[in-house]
């Protein structure tokens, strides 16, 4: 029989306000095996843990039940406390009477009754607990970063600087990401490429960093400390070792009509191309869908002009398999598609553009050479209207429910830059709220209004109507003046919502990392573990976790790197001891458990067993503790009931069911 101690936490008033904690503690003493029960204001505090320590020593407790917050919060705290007092940490069970009780119920009697039942279930479980000992697993001292934008670049650099090898997998032909497409950055108006390209160069030259561009993650297996990843290196059709990056092939390529992805489709590129001049690596890629040689078999000009002989039409996709200890996701974002916002005439007029398209137009390397002009007729605009929150903060299925966070600031930046370079252009911004929380952000926005004379109107635009003369009639509301406004504009810029890169869902599935309904990866704890995924060994960097600007992305990238380094610095990891175990006398060697095991942790051995005096050799399932992650799929599959999961055994769960239904 166990000697169980029950500790009921008040959590200040978080629990005590709706649950009668004294009564819960008192009721505990009526339960079988309970020899000690007490309540305290903050069980997780030093003093609370001291109470636990004292009770374990004095009453010779063999099991603990702590009625407190979620086990996802403080299970480890109490397990450590138990271990310090000489108790096996797995003899501790938590009854979640905060998140699952006091916070959601208002009636004291009802909440107390439920708390008692939850406590009973935990006591029933701890009665059947057995001491467990975690095993050890090794750590592969190498990190993978998925995504080569500023988030991935920063994370990779920080990990590499700490002395660990890092691989970056980037889908496009060059690293750089969205930031390389930007012209200037707020709130200091640095030129984006001026601050990004040195980092790209650093990544390229770093002895600890290996870049796989034009590559995608194909599959991921394993677990924290020991992931095995297959990377598909798509056929570049150019030999990376031979190419000198002279660019002659791109100049001579006769197929030049493909819309440039880098310029958001506003300009064209050749079939053999690097996305932009400062691309890293500076090795082009042949777009086989556009290449005349691949389409018709005739051409081959690039091969003829290449003095290095780097063109290789026969290249095929290659799968690289590599082992990693930690994986950082830095897959970034894209703008949402605007086909559901027809009222803004985005698809009808070339002069209605998104902000990212404006970035390209304002960039000296962009399709207009940095000259602000209308895409329809090349004329200089005199009247520009910016529309905020296009697809952000939407309750319907047309847009996104969240605030995209960066639009207010980049619109102020665009407005300011335009007024600075072209003082005769009128700039009007229709906004719902101007949100500028950040260092020097509000000052920046105020400068746009006060020094640059940008006209901010509180109100949304209802409709943009293209006129026969090429103008755009903007119908909006001015809520402060209570007027409807009709304004003729030459150009309309839409602050379209940002969304996580659509590929991230596929990657999250491979990593078994949680993802929310907006396709943002979920963090392990919203406040205290913001750069870790709940899946051990997976870290989050940049917009894949939530909208953020460049400074925030860089900070988070650094934080993710630190977390990854912390993992890689360890020589051994303790494994979860809640693994499956097979009862040799019950196992009939049917192989069903091995079939459902996602980790290949179950093998079969011929073993001698002593079954009630009969000795014989039987084929038996054996679980590899280092591989087993403790999901329990095998336990339910086993037809003879031989498989059981330590820490969540059949008897324990049944005891919980019984306690709840009592």
């Amino acid at each position: 029989m166990q000697r169980i101690g029950v500790f009921v936490c008040h959590c200040g008033t978080n629990i005590a306000a709706t649950v009668d904690v004294k009564k819960v503690a008192e009721m505990a003493l009526h339960e079988p095996g309970v020899v000690h029960a007490e309540d305290y204001a903050y069980m997780c505090s030093e003093a609370g843990q001291e109470l636990i320590h004292k009770a374990i020593k004095e009453k010779h407790l063999t099991g603990l039940v702590v009625c407190s917050c979620s086990p996802r919060m403080h299970e480890t705290t109490f397990r450590n406390a138990a271990e310090k007092a000489g108790l096996n940490p797995y003899m501790v069970e938590i009854a979640n009477i905060r998140e699952h009780c006091s916070w959601i119920h208002k009636d004291i009697e009802e909440a107390t009754e439920k708390a008692v039942i939850l406590m009973r279930a935990a006591i029933a479980k701890v009665n059947l607990d057995a001491p467990l000992k975690p095993g050890e697993s090794h750590v592969t001292k190498r990190a993978l970063v998925i995504g080569g934008g500023i988030a991935g670049i920063q994370t990779a650099l920080d990990i590499a600087e700490a002395g660990y090898p890092v691989d970056i997998v980037e889908k496009t032909p060059s690293i750089g990401g969205r930031m390389s497409q930007l012209d200037k950055t707020f709130p200091t108006l640095d030129c984006s490429s001026c601050i990004l390209t040195p980092k790209m160069g650093e990544v390229n030259a770093h002895p600890n960093i290996n870049i796989y561009t034009y590559s995608e993650v194909e599959s991921v297996s394993g677990f924290v400390g020991d992931f095995t990843v297959e990377i598909r290196r798509k056929a570049r059709s150019v030999d990376m070792d031979k190419c000198t990056g002279c660019g002659v092939c791109q100049d001579k390529c006769p197929s030049k009509k493909t819309p440039s992805e880098f310029n958001r489709g506003l300009g064209t590129r050749s079939a053999i191309y690097t996305p932009f001049a400062q691309a890293v690596p500076n090795v082009p890629v042949i777009d086989r869908d556009a290449c005349i040689k691949f389409k018709t078999g005739k051409c081959g000009i690039c091969s003829k002009v290449c003095l290095a002989g780097a063109i290789d039409y026969d290249q095929t996709d290659e799968i690289v398999t590599e082992k990693y200890g930690a994986i950082v996701v830095a897959t970034g974002f894209d703008m949402i598609k605007l086909d559901k916002y027809d009222e803004y005439a985005y698809s009808q007029s070339k002069d209605v553009i998104t902000s990212l398209e404006l970035e390209r137009i304002m960039n000296a390397a962009g399709p207009t050479g940095g000259h602000l002009e209308r895409l329809s007729d090349g004329k200089a605009p005199k009247e520009i209207v910016f529309i905020q929150c296009v697809g952000s903060r939407c309750a319907d299925d047309r847009g996104k429910s969240y605030c995209s966070k960066v639009c207010c600031m980049y619109t102020a930046k665009h407005a300011m830059l335009i007024r600075d370079k072209y003082p005769d252009v009128n700039v009007t911004v229709f906004y719902i709220d101007v949100r500028t929380p950040g260092k020097n952000f509000d000052e920046f926005y105020r400068r746009a209004v006060e020094e640059y004379g940008v006209n901010y109107i509180k109100g949304q635009v209802g409709k943009v109507i293209p006129q026969p003369d090429g103008k755009l009639l903007v119908q909006g509301a001015d809520l402060l003046d209570n007027k409807q406004i009709l304004k003729e504009a030459d150009m309309v810029v839409l602050a379209a919502a940002i969304e996580p890169n659509p590929d991230v869902r596929k990657i999250a599935t491979m990593l078994t990392a949680s993802i929310d309904t907006n396709n943002f990866l979920t963090e392990a704890h919203a406040k205290l573990r913001p750069v870790e995924s709940p899946t051990a060994g997976i870290f989050l960097s940049g917009v894949c976790q939530g909208p953020k600007d460049i400074p925030e992305t860089v900070s988070q990238a650094g934080a993710a790197a630190v977390k990854a380094i912390g993992l890689l610095a360890k020589d051994k990891l303790l494994t979860n001891p809640c693994t499956a175990q097979s009862d040799e006398l019950l196992c009939n060697g049917c192989s069903q458990c091995a079939n459902v095991c996602p980790y290949g942790a179950i093998t079969y051995e011929n073993k001698e067993v002593n079954d009630h005096g009969i000795r014989e050799i039987r084929r038996l399932a054996v679980v590899n503790d280092a591989l087993c992650q403790g999901c329990g799929a095998c336990t339910v599959t086993c037809p003879s009931g031989a498989m059981d999961l330590q820490g969540f055994s059949n008897r324990q769960i049944l005891a919980e069911v019984d306690a709840i239904c009592r």
Partner: protein, 148 residues
Amino acid sequence: MSIEKNEEFRPKIVAFCCNWCSYAGADLAGSSRMTYSADVKIIRVPCSCRVNPMFILRAFERGADGVIMCGCHPGDCHYTSGNYYARRRMTLLFSMLDYIGVESGRTRVEWVSAAEGAKFSETMHEFVDKITSLGKNVRLEDLRCRNL
């Protein structure tokens, strides 16, 4: 059955929640103060695939009025494929339970992610309403244990 009886009726509901998604979703519902009935009691399991049909039968045997199982969304299972096994097992079990007289409304499978606190609370509301309208369940019994 009279309506008065139904008003006093407090159903016993057991919810099995997987540690990675639904239990976290229930925690989120709690920390966001999204209320639901105290009749729901949650049992934490590592994965929905750990839920043995035996546990559900036992709950009904011990007088539960409804059992709900929550797991990660298909494709998002922390253990890659556990919820697929759970889905298949529960489909079979629930149809069998319906056959032996436990109405299909008393059993439910719902996918709730760690970010869906609101969905968790809504689901529990709906489920409790459903069970309350169905009334007290017929207790499953092991006939061999009956004194004949």
